[in-house]
Symmetry: C3
Subunit: 345 residues, 3 copies
């Protein structure tokens, strides 16, 4: 689904039919098309139908004669009867400029009850946009699955991954439990980090565990699951997963996502973390919050936003539609764009 | 506005113009069209313009060659210059699959200051999607209007309706005050219920009334209106209705909706409800929350979400755009789709 | 980008290609077009592609035969194979009716760290919709910039502007700090005001200052900036501006917006305001809340909604996507439409 200027030529043809000098009546399409010089296209409709740029994002500055997209000059249209026209090439250039992202390097750290495959589609979409993107597996998860693992081992996995590849100037993204991981990674290799992005992530305060961020009832439920597990893991019952992690998914997609949910090693969730160094760091921070996420109960006390995000002090908030896990599987291009909004300078 | 494969053939023609082998220049549309084999269409633009499926919902899986919609394999496109193409039939099938809903049986219970006509359009839209849908009138409201009615009589109306029609495996939806009604109906006929859906609904705790969910100021205001009524009802002044129930509606639609707002029988709102049995039930529950709804003051203390929803314990949250009443009249297809998202397994 | 019926004729041509009596197969576009009588267009697709009216806003009332837009009868389509058709003129009329706004008179009062130019694009968009719109500069800001100014002088500027132009029946909009300004202006000239609209605005209670609405940490930070300024102003550091005011903007637009951010005169923010008269007034009030706004920390305690909005007592809530400042520069037509939704009766 990549966009190239070559393809735009074909696509813009569609918009060509939108142009007609004479009032439309009983004239057949063929007649109307023949009578059209077709050298310019109506800008607004072309941007909408061919480039999916909504009219809300447009502004015509009568003083300068520029049409703006997202507040930036995009092209100088010709105005006829109150409608803006431009050549297909000018419209294609304007749309490409509006979609352009400055290349960044993303390292994506997944959360609990999943593994690095959580990010597969997001990595692909970020790469399509021109970014470098990495999703390291970490200790105790995915191909490295084992019930007994420590928070420190997880952190070490991510640090090793980044240093072994010598990645620099990275946007370090942590999802869910991964928030506590990027806090500790940031303590270890702050000079390699351009910005931290917490995506519906837990942000423990100094001396707290991730589990400390949950309501008491959930902590109790997890304690019972741990005890029943016999190997210090927390198996996630499907109904809880369905309601808490993939509430907006279809039945079929929910079950598909659940297949990655191995019993989660409990120790890293319960470990009290020394985060003094993190809270003394001065790295730029963003928080990406999806408004249908109920993996943490919504509201002031436990909600990802404002409760967890509020631990960050100053941060940039980006919001979006989605729940805890579905978007990464169902709308990865949307998630990738939101991550870029959170990451850019 | 129902979709059939037959009509799609016609509709897909529109997308045909998006295809053109040769770069577009000064060629007239007729020429370009003639030079097009027109055997395939660009998938992304066709899905957007003909089927209103946004590019955010698409993902091209390079490994398998499948284009996904909402995370599910939809079709295998041919790729030319980075653009996906497929036949109109394949695209129509993919769009139909993405729009498909498994048939369910909905019973919709309205709230206060309205009657069963609140659901008329939603019922029609659910039926268009292949569901069974019922909106019973209940005691004291609509055609059964009378000021003196009890909560129990209302509950009995709904129970009688369901049992007399022998409805089973139902999705029982309660809106606003209707939340308390479906709590009590669930106590009575749990075996007929597939799932409970609370739509911006009050969810009293055991021993509470619906009025107990309001702030003290509103309770006081209602007490005054009741006293002034002389017949134990609460007439709803238009300014309060406009601001609290239909805040996003146009002036004209707001006044139209207000016409159903008879003085509400007060007793059912004030009755303390024994809900021990409800809170011991183990039925699947969803909460549909529209983010512009201010019929209850937003926020942690009185908001539909998270305050009222939080009474449910475990539940599935679905959010949407809208206020308390307008969507049922202005965007019933949207509401019907949101109810399905809340209802499906 | 203004819409006129004349241009609609041309635009509707696009939709003409959507009509085809015969099933679409290998027929070329030219043939298909020639075989089309083209006297009517498919309503749903035309409204979407030509007028950007989403199918969610449509409802076909089988009983009356009317297609509704936003719950209001729009046109009587012909139904063929389940698809609605109408003439291009009928569709154009329906779209125009749905977009129609009753003319109002807006006076827009800006906030801190900007000037009247904040509203330039919004004024232009409101005028394009047929409204009268004014954005007065006030004492100490923009062309009148000076560090020593009082809250009362600012209020007087706005009162003088309104009375000198003899504006009546106005929708008085206050953004951010401007909320406190329109509270005081309303005390002075209530008879000229049709409705007050608070747009992500501070709403001090009687005896409070605007600064009293901030968390203690922010008040402390401002106190330090004031002391360092030497002239009782609060310079806004770029990182704070970027994260707090324009979090959703592109890097380029964020820097552009920052250029209007002169050091803000501190006195008006710190002044305790006598608002007894305001809270005794009985003017209609709306609150427009953009859900990504973090100029005030989100949540029950400090959030624009529900904390500041909650000070108003009864009010109409309108929500939208956006942050504190970006929308006025990037999506002014969207902001203008939201202001109209907040303003209309």
């Amino acid at each position: 689904m990549k966009t190239s200027k070559k393809k735009l030529a074909g696509a813009a043809l569609a918009a060509a039919v939108l142009f007609a000098g004479a009032p439309w009546g009983n004239a057949s399409l063929a007649q109307a098309a023949a009578s059209s010089s077709a050298s310019t296209l109506p800008v607004k409709t072309t941007l909408y139908t061919v480039y999916q740029i909504s009219p809300d994002r447009l502004y015509y500055d009568a003083a300068t004669g520029y049409l703006q997209i997202d507040g930036q000059n995009a092209l100088k249209p010709a105005i006829k009867n109150g409608v803006s026209y431009a050549t297909s090439g000018a419209i294609a250039d304007a749309a490409a400029k509006a979609a352009k992202q400055l290349p960044m390097t993303f390292v994506l750290v997944h959360g609990s009850w999943t593994d690095a495959s959580f990010w597969s589609k997001t990595v692909a979409e970020l790469k399509r946009k021109g970014h470098a993107a990495y999703a390291p597996e970490y200790a105790g998860h995915g191909s490295l699955y084992k019930p007994d693992v420590t928070h420190e081992q997880i952190v070490q996995s991510v640090v090793d991954y980044i240093t072994s590849k010598n990645l620099k100037d990275i946007v370090l993204v942590g999802h869910s439990f991964g928030g506590s991981v990027i806090q500790k990674v940031a303590e270890r290799i702050p000079d390699r980090i351009h910005r931290l992005v917490f995506f519906d992530a837990f942000v423990p305060l100094d001396g707290q565990s991730v589990a400390d961020q949950f309501p008491a009832e959930l902590q109790d439920a997890f304690a019972q699951l741990i005890q029943a597990s016999g190997n210090n893991t927390i198996p996630m019952p499907y109904p809880l997963f369905r309601d808490g992690f993939v509430n907006t998914a279809s039945d079929g997609l929910a079950k598909q996502i659940y297949q990655s949910a191995k019993p989660e090693p409990a120790a890293p969730l319960l470990e009290k973390l020394d985060l003094k160094k993190f809270y003394a760091l001065n790295l730029p921070k963003s928080y990406l919050y999806f408004t249908s996420d109920t993996a943490a109960p919504q509201g002031d006390k436990y909600g990802f936003n404002p409760a967890q995000s509020g631990h960050l002090g100053q941060f940039r908030l980006i919001t979006g539609n989605g729940d805890h896990m579905t978007t990464a599987y169902a709308q990865p291009a949307y998630l990738a764009n939101k991550l870029y909004e959170a990451a850019r300078d």
